[in-house]
Symmetry: C2
């Protein structure tokens, strides 16, 4: 008696979807694994798009796998331009629309993995769909911006939203010689990061010719001949040839919600550590999900490719009959603002206070290499700890060298609940071209320990 192969269907083709599908096909070599993607491309990174627009990365390099390559390398069938319209959990089937011919059909599954990702937040203003207004959210969108910059040769751009994508876009557009105005609802860029870091990012933006206008969300787009020509705010009116909307994303859960799958207070799908949803045989992974914060033990919404790809693996392995868990995330963000590396890992000080930790915090500025070495750069480290337990809760770093990789050392410390006291004993490798004798993270730990004791 031959066993019917397991059918594993995956909805969504960006980060978590291909990760889940590939893992499932590897774990169960007999399974039929089919992935559905509504857009024309699969398996690409949003994070690389600004570098494509800047001209640093050719367009074809943005795609890790075409459908043919995914089939060949991973034994996953990817159907692009296929929109999944309905999930029927009781029938264990989905309704799919082939948008190339507008026909729908039904596919049966044994296990379903939802990886529908996120969608850009809307400002709710007329004109968001104008021909020179863009989101940095899909590969097609990225290609459109690149083509617009290449052919329409805009001389002025307004970027709405000064989060990490807004900043990467500011960098990219300045590289292309475009005047950039950034509008943000807050007084400083990068809301959520430490004030100290945000002030530095503002300094970097201004030093690189970006006009940052804080506390000034757009209130009206002035449209001429289908294009936004002026952006009005409470504090001024900005002429523009190009508008980038980078005001964040929200989980795309409409499909899941229609199927009765449980979502949380932050709008994302709720899963257990096995990435199972509230519906039998349905898993979810990536930007459509909420994530457990390993430090605060609260649910958070953090749509990052690192988390998506790990959750994808876990969902894929479990859907294919394996047994594995995604433990959660600490929140780890890195961005390059022109020449400056900015990183934040774990909880910010405000977030830590909200989570009822007894927050202690210290900032030091050290150097990226032995300070006497040519090429050494200033590096600022802020550490955030809990006075009661002594545990490191979070860290923010910036500087022109070595901030992000050092943040990752601190990330490990945060993830495993190490204390600031323990950090002082860290035996780290030292060599003048790479680190000072006392690495800035050790100097910061020593300074914070001193401060915590003094209280």
């Amino acid at each position: 008696m031959s066993r019917t192969p397991r059918r594993i269907l995956v909805v969504g083709g960006l980060a978590a979807g291909p990760s889940a599908a590939s893992k499932a096909a590897r774990v169960d070599p007999e399974a039929e694994v089919v992935l559905f993607e509504q857009g024309p491309h699969i398996s690409y990174g949003i994070c690389e798009i600004p570098y494509h627009i800047a001209g640093d990365v050719p367009g074809q390099d943005l795609v890790a796998y075409t459908p043919a390559q995914l089939k060949q390398a991973k034994r996953v069938e990817a159907r692009v331009l296929h929109l999944v319209e309905e999930i029927h959990p009781r029938e264990r089937s989905i309704r799919v629309r082939d948008t190339t011919n507008d026909k729908t059909y039904t596919e049966r599954y044994d296990k379903l993995i939802i990886a529908t990702g996120s969608r850009p937040r809307s400002l709710g203003l007329a004109g968001e769909d104008a021909s020179n207004v863009f989101h940095v959210k899909t590969l097609e969108g990225g290609f459109k911006i690149k083509a617009f910059v290449d052919t329409a040769r805009p001389s002025r751009a307004v970027i709405v939203g000064a989060g990490y994508i807004g900043i990467e876009m500011a960098d990219a557009l300045r590289t292309r010689g475009i005047e950039v105005t950034m509008l943000d609802q807050f007084d400083l860029p990068m809301s959520g990061l430490e004030i100290r870091t945000r002030e530095e990012v503002l300094r970097v933006l201004m030093a690189n010719g970006v006009r940052f206008v804080g506390g000034s969300p757009p209130v009206r787009f002035v449209i001429e001949q289908g294009s936004v020509r002026r952006v009005e705010t409470a504090n001024g009116i900005y002429d523009t040839d190009l508008v980038i909307l980078a005001v964040g994303v929200e989980p795309e859960t409409r499909l899941a919600q229609r199927a009765g799958i449980r979502t949380g207070a932050l709008g994302g799908i709720i899963t257990n550590p096995q990435q199972q949803t509230s519906a039998l045989d349905i898993y979810a992974a990536g930007d459509c999900c909420e994530v457990k914060n390993l430090v605060s033990h609260k649910s958070m919404y953090l749509p990052l490719a690192t988390i998506a790809s790990k959750q994808g693996w876990v969902a894929g392995e479990n859907a294919a009959g394996g047994h594995t868990r995604f433990v959660g995330a600490i929140g780890a963000i890195a961005v390059r603002a022109f020449k400056t590396e900015v990183a934040q890992v774990g909880l910010g000080s405000a977030e830590a206070a909200r989570a009822r930790f007894d927050v202690a915090m210290e900032t030091i500025t050290g150097s990226s290499r032995a300070s006497i070495m040519p090429g050494s750069k200033k590096l600022t480290v802020t550490l955030i700890a809990d006075r009661r337990s002594g545990r490191l809760l979070g860290a923010g770093l910036f500087g022109e060298e070595g901030a992000v990789l050092r943040a990752n050392t601190l990330a490990v410390s945060i993830q495993h609940g190490l204390t600031v006291h323990e950090m002082q004993q860290w035996d780290l490798a030292y060599s003048p071209p790479f680190t000072p004798l006392w690495d800035p993270i050790l100097i910061a730990a020593n300074a914070l320990e001193k401060k915590m004791f003094k209280r």
Copy 2:
């Protein structure tokens, strides 16, 4: 009744000594702290000397504190050109020779800290004291090499010993346009590191015009007019204008041993975690000590400035009435070989096997940034783990970018006994200019886990 201030004497002025003295003076603001150094300089790093010889760092930058600055900034009196000849533990006194006038005198102490460091190993060959033969061991020695290169303009050099100082010197001398031959007793440079790493270092040396001759220790120096002109080995004879001896160091414990202080099988002073020696009120710190390896729990001899400065702090704090511990070290080494970063942290595979771990090991090559980003470099990571506990024991990394700082993330994992399984859940910051989506250390952990499971 006024209390007599505590007298804390420190023997040795390079790394551990000034660290200990400064800490002691801070912890006990009443204490009289006096440091004795036989040479003319204090408070400098050996590690920076090759970069001075290369021309990257001016000589005056090598000294962190002059005696006057140490007095001013740290309230420590430093007596240079003062040789401590005897310790009398029962009398709690030392005999000091002022070498500027060859007079001796006695100083009483309440607490004594021995930081006599290390001395270069000798080859035992005639001619080691010739005028063109140098060690990289003291600042004076470093200045002499620089002056020799600047004025005598040697065109050929022989470096004996291909450890990290030998390699840094090869780099420095090549930068100065000198032909370099390296002689080593082993077939590959950097004994103690993984074979894979050593092969890469050999490749890098050759690619940068260094002639490496393995298995060929010098057997004779041929001397003409007080200078070595040829170095003879079993495998060839090498003409030279300059000889650098970099065959390692041994603990300088003669003073301690004469005072009956206990030393270990590796020749270093034995201390407890408070850095106390076997003699009452006598502490020791730095290159004259053996160190507990936190992974193997064995004693090791690892003369590194990172360990010396931490031990110095601990000795200084405890001598001044504080209570603190130095827990030990994992062994963390970094070196720049021309453009290549080389790092090893924790146990090597051979060392791990000797320590009776059930060694599993995997090597992967990833990229330092997202591989599609300009400037991304290959990065090779070897992880060494114990199959029984799953713990990461050691790691070796090399590549032209991001090897050393990633090694430090792994160092933390090794120091705290984290498992390869736990590493796979690490939430690390990602951004294309700094890391791939799956950082090479995560790829390596995944690969090693797979291998460990398959057995």
